[in-house]
């Protein structure tokens, strides 16, 4: 526990250092925004006299706070009934429902206002995810379920991935392409959900429940529930160095004016170092576990990259990755991944807001948060009337619809499902 505490304090300090400048972004954001507005006016794409809308841009859609609030209730309802799909729905709201997607697209590929609005949508999603990660990681710390070496290896990959992707793609991806990639992610999630609703998926689930029932007696005996994690083997020094190097790469990339190659080199060095950490062995509930340090590191890179690119949390990917691929018990993964999501999102938001000067509309995020927690109170009350399988089927249909619509809109330029 003492080691966990030290690790937690260290991470919180890093988080604090990274988080505080996020709120300082106003001067550089304002400049980027006014530059983009000026260019729009000069090119005749923005009418100077039009009424200001989203982010104060003249002629931009006036995002209704009431609509944002109502949509967020829907998002909160999904979060509290089905889970991960809520993050996707938050993204759908920002892109489609509030009319920001079509507005940004009108400026054409590569145009500054298109890039600014696209990045603002991503950052708005990330704020929602990051704030949630903050609370959930605090809860898991209280429950004593943060596993330091696992968290460090994930973070080594995740921190690098979450600054590299925004750095390589911010301003280079048009909203059209972003929508297409977002659609692919939604469709993949829909396919995963669909597999669970098929006969084979249901049979598998039934078998698992039978197996669980077989171990029910021992479960009732309890007895060993107080046993925590005990680390037996693992190179702490190398892990700390590797983590320090990738955090330095993120800071260098965001704060230093030039010499980007050094940031790339540092991230690469951190990742390579993890291969030399070797195997980590620990006991949990009296059972011994081991994993190669580079496995969560590689997972961390891929997941954080995807999460920060799409502006959604990686939590829904971290947990299945580590339980299915690395074969670790759910509790070890669950508590730790919340913290990694938080660190990853902070680095990513930092990269966008401070590094790239992307603005967000605070009042709107506030209205959305209110909607989400109201939705989370409605969810438990309605879910008892709707069987789990039907909830899943509902979201399979939604995921296929949203996925196909976004993929075709993003890559073909038109939707093959209504509204066209």
């Amino acid at each position: 526990m003492k080691r966990n505490l030290k690790w937690f304090v260290c991470l919180m300090v890093v988080v604090g250092i990274l988080a505080s400048p996020l709120f300082l972004a106003t001067p550089s954001s304002a400049d980027k925004l006014s530059e983009a507005i000026e260019q729009g006016i000069t090119d005749g794409k923005i009418d100077k006299k039009a009424e200001p809308g989203f982010l104060g841009i003249p002629g931009a859609p006036k995002v209704s706070y009431i609509l944002g609030f109502l949509w967020a209730i829907w998002v909160g309802w999904i979060f509290s009934t089905v889970g991960a799909f809520g993050g996707i729905m938050a993204g759908v709201g920002h892109i489609t429902i509030f009319g920001l997607g079509d507005y940004a697209k009108d400026f054409g590929k590569g145009y500054p206002m298109n890039r600014l609005v696209t990045d603002s949508i991503r950052v708005s999603n990330q704020w929602l995810v990051g704030l949630s990660g903050l609370i959930s990681s605090t809860n898991y710390y209280r429950m004593g379920r943060l596993v330091a070496p696992l968290g460090m290896c994930l973070a080594i990959g995740g921190v690098g991935g979450s600054w590299l992707i925004p750095d390589l793609t911010a301003g280079k991806i048009s909203l059209k392409a972003y929508i297409g990639y977002f659609g692919i992610a939604v469709l993949v999630l829909g396919i995963i959900l669909f597999r669970e609703t098929t006969k084979a998926g249901q049979a598998k689930r039934k078998k698992a429940k039978e197996a669980a029932a077989a171990f029910e007696k021992e479960a009732k005996k309890g007895g060993e529930t107080t046993q925590g994690v005990k680390i037996l083997e693992g190179s702490w020094t190398l892990m700390f160095i590797a983590l320090g190097v990738v955090v330095a790469s993120a800071l260098w990339a965001n704060l230093a004016g030039g010499g980007k190659w050094l940031a790339y080199a540092l991230a690469l060095i951190g990742w390579v170092l993890t291969f030399f950490v070797g195997t980590i062995r620990f006991t949990f509930f009296g059972v011994e576990f081991k994993f190669k340090a580079y496995i969560p590191m590689l997972g961390g890179i891929f997941i954080a990259a995807l999460a920060s690119f799409l502006g959604v949390g990686g939590g829904f990917l971290y947990v299945p990755f580590l339980t299915s691929v690395a074969g670790l018990p759910m509790f070890l993964v669950a508590g730790t991944s919340g913290l990694v999501v938080l660190v990853g999102m902070i680095v990513s938001i930092f990269s966008y807001m401070v590094g790239k000067g992307v603005p967000v509309q605070w009042g709107f995020i506030g209205a959305e948060l209110v909607g989400i927690f109201i939705g989370s109170m409605i969810g438990p009350r309605t879910s008892k009337y709707i069987p789990d399988i039907w909830l899943k089927r509902l979201f399979v249909v939604l995921a296929f619809y949203v996925g196909i619509r976004y993929i075709t809109k993003g890559f073909l330029g038109y939707s093959i499902v209504p509204p066209f």
């Binding site: 400048p21 509290s80 429940k209 018990p329 509790f331 927690f373």
Partner: protein, 171 residues
């Protein structure tokens, strides 16, 4: 004027009052922002307490399922049944996902006042800049109102956490 703009205008009078209490503008700034941070922390705390109360039985149920599946999977592993462990671990994973996202959604109850306060500060004080002792890269030598609000909010949260000792199981 939409409902939110109307609401912001209505509470503006209330929020700006502490800024005017002391005669000195600098002391007034610190007092007002500290009161704003205290309100944000208190409001968040009240809301999350309310949400937990409303959802208590459901949270207990979901967290209970997560715990049960976890213990079952560990028992399977201890018994050497690797296949059962993997299958039950998957169920545990699913139960955790449900419980996790429910709590994530509920977590927004404690944080919603922060962006609202930041939005109000943006409306009220966006033109005011505070000089820093050192020049920070990318930021320059001036910072906005939020720079002072956030540390004060964190301080208010810590102090509020200490005022009332927690009782019972947090889960």
């Amino acid at each position: 004027m939409d409902f939110v703009s109307g609401f912001v205008e209505a509470i503006d009078y209330f929020l700006i009052a502490p800024y005017r209490w002391p005669g000195n503008p600098v002391i007034g700034w610190w007092t007002g922002t500290a009161v704003l941070a205290a309100w944000a922390a208190l409001l968040g705390k009240i809301t999350i307490a309310l949400v937990f109360r409303v959802n208590r039985s459901y949270i207990k149920e979901t967290v209970g399922e997560v715990d049960q599946r976890h213990t079952q999977s560990m028992n399977a592993l201890k018994a050497g049944d690797r296949a059962a462990y993997r299958a039950i671990n998957r169920l545990a994973n699913e139960a955790f996902g449900k419980s996790f996202f429910l709590q994530v959604a509920m977590a927004s109850a404690s944080l919603w006042p922060v962006p609202c306060a930041l939005a109000w500060l943006q409306i009220r004080f966006s033109s005011i800049q505070f000089p820093l002792a050192v020049d920070l890269p990318l930021v320059g030598h001036n910072v906005g109102a939020s720079f002072i609000f956030i540390p004060l909010y964190i301080l208010a949260r810590i102090m509020l956490g200490k005022v009332k000792p927690r009782k019972g199981n947090r889960e």
